[in-house]
């Protein structure tokens, strides 16, 4: 085979089942306490979220796979998988801690010095800090290596000047992992010259301007840096060598359950609305969607199993994100079609309409954020030996 794609039928080990029940019980308690509502996806990141994060942290469900000395729990990726999927399906307000848990923490573990690790990682695990990702700029999106926001060497550190954009959660974040230009690209390597930094968002010289979204939310921001000072030990990894560091995280970032479950709630409501004995059309429609969902989950669990085994399934992970995000993007449209003949007096009619409305509005972002469909397909094509 030229294209050796591996998707073995990995199953979650038995210890995951106990954990799943614990997570479900916890979420049910949070729902009845009014922290969030599974029927209101659009509300999920509102006011009560910080309290929620701390309670999730107290359960040991943030930084689950990290070393104990940093506040982690040294559990498996598959256990983390269960927690992630249960939270997504319940529409739990995870945004405050999820980026740190998925991406930022692992980067710090790999590249930060011991003092920073001992300071920040336990706080992430306790659900106390929120991270943002500062990669995109007004003139640098898919082409990450066109980034211009500059870090200039000064006494004991660096001065940052420039603008990051589309920075999710920057308005509430404590820290950002940013990519800044420390040197010009070289003739034979246009990826050279960018360096990754840990940014304390309270640093003077940083201004955050919220940007409204078509969904009515305001999750992302413009972040302006004006002579913002970063101490030397906030450099993460090799100076000018950020491009070498980006790839290994991506398999984690791309293949999780959050890559196909973001609009799942419309499927639940469709099943509710069609009732226990749907007509032929409704039954077939549900059956197909469930078959596709199950397949995606099996693909995603398979990648999680490979990560747990210490492999780097870069192409498989990109495939999961490509197929998964397209599916979750189409899901509200399919559901809308199937719901066309639902009786107006079914009990959840309003919920279904509201959920559909919201899912249709957020659908466009699903194939953009964290790397577009086109970028992913480029990565897959490279894995196939075409580039």
């Amino acid at each position: 085979m030229t294209a050796a794609l591996t998707f073995d039928p990995i199953r979650l080990p038995p210890e995951c089942e106990k954990l799943r029940q614990e997570v479900r019980t916890f979420l049910a308690e949070e729902i009845s306490a009014g922290t969030f509502s599974p029927q209101r996806a659009q509300k999920s990141d509102d006011t009560d979220a910080p309290g929620f994060s701390k309670r999730v942290g107290a359960r040991g469900w943030i930084g689950m796979t990290w070393p104990k000395k940093y506040g982690g729990h040294e559990r498996s990726f598959l256990e983390r998988y269960v927690v992630t999927e249960e939270m997504r399906v319940a529409n739990a307000p995870v945004r405050r801690f999820f980026v740190a848990d998925r991406q930022s923490g692992p980067v710090l573990i790999r590249y930060a010095n011991e003092r920073i690790k001992m300071d920040i990682l336990p706080r992430i695990c306790r659900g106390e800090v929120c991270f943002a990702i500062g990669m995109s700029e007004p003139n640098s999106g898919s082409d990450l290596f066109a980034a211009k926001t500059k870090a200039t060497k000064t006494d004991g550190g660096w001065l940052i000047n420039g603008t990051k954009i589309w920075t999710t959660s920057a308005h509430v974040a404590d820290y950002m992992l940013g990519i800044f230009r420390t040197s010009a690209p070289t003739k034979d390597n246009r990826r050279h010259g960018l360096t990754q930094f840990l940014v304390d968002m309270k640093t003077p010289g940083i201004t955050v301007n919220p940007i409204g979204q078509i969904s009515g939310q305001s999750e992302f921001n413009e972040v302006v840096f004006e002579d913002a000072f970063m101490p030397d030990d906030h450099v993460l990894g090799e100076i000018d060598g950020a491009w070498k560091q980006a790839t290994s995280e991506l398999a984690y970032e791309r293949s999780g359950p959050e890559r196909f479950l973001e609009t799942y709630y419309v499927l639940t409501e469709l099943v509710r609305a069609l009732g226990r004995e749907p007509d032929l059309r409704g039954a077939e429609g549900i059956g197909r969607l469930v078959a596709q969902l199950h397949t995606l989950r099996r693909m995603s669990v398979s990648v999680a199993g490979m990560l747990q085994a210490g492999k780097e399934p870069v192409v498989e992970a990109a495939i999961v994100k490509d197929v998964g995000t397209i599916w979750e993007q189409q899901l509200p449209h399919r559901v809308r079609n199937l719901a066309a003949f639902v009786e107006p007096n079914v009990s959840n009619h309003e919920t279904l309409e509201r959920q559909l409305d919201f899912a249709m509005k957020i659908a466009p972002k699903l194939t953009l954020q964290g790397g577009t469909t086109e970028v992913l397909r480029g990565i897959i094509a490279r894995g196939l030996g075409l580039r």
């Binding site: 294209a3 039928p9 099943v271 509710r272 059956g287 469930v290 490509d322 480029g378």
Partner: protein
């Protein structure tokens, strides 16, 4: 893959490469290749892998047989291997021994009904039975007047077999049982009913489709790296790269879904809705992948892939025609959708998460 699966798959792949190579089959313009590969498989015990030695088989586990079927799909193997394996499996459920030679099973569609009369003869019609015209025996799942399931072995020659072919040109026949006397028969144990037979057949077809698509991806990527247009290898055009990335996604979905269903059946501990979910999802998703995947593979090949001389059609047309056997996608979608609805909305996620 386990050690035994590896050995079986490697053995079979060597046979397929030597005796059932797609290009050689096309060049030969005859069916003369079929007997040697069949004999080689039979001699190695690979036509009856799922059956105890005492009943004439090789006594391998289900997982090994499923791995063999995916390998057969990768070769677009057009002899009744899957059918014989399933027939042997069905007969063994009732303690019946398998005869030598090719077999098939009836019914091969979920709405098929064959009855066993009080006089011990079989009557009824099974539509679209794969390879019935090439089989020496047919394993039949029949119902008695009081609704009990019976498994019977009949000689194909005792039935009326209508002419017919699949999209790919393989035998696909209506089989009429007009008071046919079985060679052997025995009651089916509980749980072995038409649904169980369809689940087994659908899983087998899913693996064959996944295998055929793996090869379609392989030859399409290779072609894109060879064919030149506008002074470039076509694989350098981004449109082609993205099409192939989509094809890879479909192949990945098919391999995952089929592999998961096979793993579930092999484990033997899962029944009911969870088993239906696994197998129905595999048949549905592999069918969808066959549709999208075949279209992309042909598009990238241009006109050459549309010729009878080229090997591509052996994989794409078989992947398409296998979609229809043992229940097409819409059958399984309705079955699965009805179960999901009957459980209720809040039990959907627990079902999915249980797998």
């Amino acid at each position: 893959m386990s050690e035994s699966e590896n050995i079986v798959v490697e053995t079979a792949e060597r046979m397929f490469a030597d005796l059932a190579d797609a290009q050689s089959i096309i060049a030969s313009k005859s069916d003369a290749w079929k007997a040697p590969v069949w004999d080689a498989l039979a001699d190695a015990g690979l036509t009856l892998p799922w059956i105890d030695e005492t009943l004439g088989g090789a006594g391998a586990d289900l997982a090994t047989g499923f791995a063999l079927l995916q390998a057969a799909g990768r070769a677009a193997l057009a002899v009744p291997l899957a059918e014989t394996m399933i027939a042997g499996w069905l007969l063994a459920r009732a303690g019946l021994a398998s005869p030598a030679g090719a077999m098939t099973v009836a019914p091969a569609q979920p709405n098929g009904r064959i009855t066993l009369s009080a006089d011990g003869t079989l009557s009824g019609r099974a539509r679209n039975v794969p390879f019935a015209a090439d089989a020496r025996h047919i394993a039949v799942l029949a119902a008695t007047a009081d609704g009990a399931s019976v498994i019977a072995l009949v000689e194909a020659a005792a039935c009326q077999i209508a002419a017919g072919k699949t999209l790919a040109g393989d035998a696909l026949n209506g089989v009429t049982f007009d008071r046919v006397k079985p060679i052997a028969q025995a009651p089916a144990p509980t749980g072995v009913d038409l649904t169980a037979l369809m689940l087994m057949g659908a899983a087998a077809r899913s693996l064959q489709i996944a295998g055929a698509l793996e090869t379609a991806l392989d030859i399409t990527v290779r072609y894109a790296n060879e064919r030149v247009a506008f002074e470039k290898k076509i694989g350098k055009f981004q449109a082609i790269q993205h099409s192939l990335a989509r094809l890879a996604g479909e192949v990945a979905a098919a391999v995952s879904a089929a592999g998961s269903a096979a793993d579930t059946l092999s484990g033997g501990r899962v029944a009911g809705d969870a088993l239906l979910l696994e197998v129905a999802a595999a048949k549905i998703r592999c069918g969808e992948a066959a549709e999208v995947g075949a279209a992309i593979a042909h598009q990238v090949h241009g006109a050459i892939g549309f010729t009878s001389e080229h090997i591509l059609h052996r994989f794409t047309l078989r992947a398409q025609s296998w979609r229809d056997d043992f229940g097409p996608e819409s059958h399984w979608a309705v079955e699965l959708g009805r179960r999901v609805a009957a459980r209720g909305a809040d039990d959907l996620w627990p079902l999915v998460a249980s797998r």
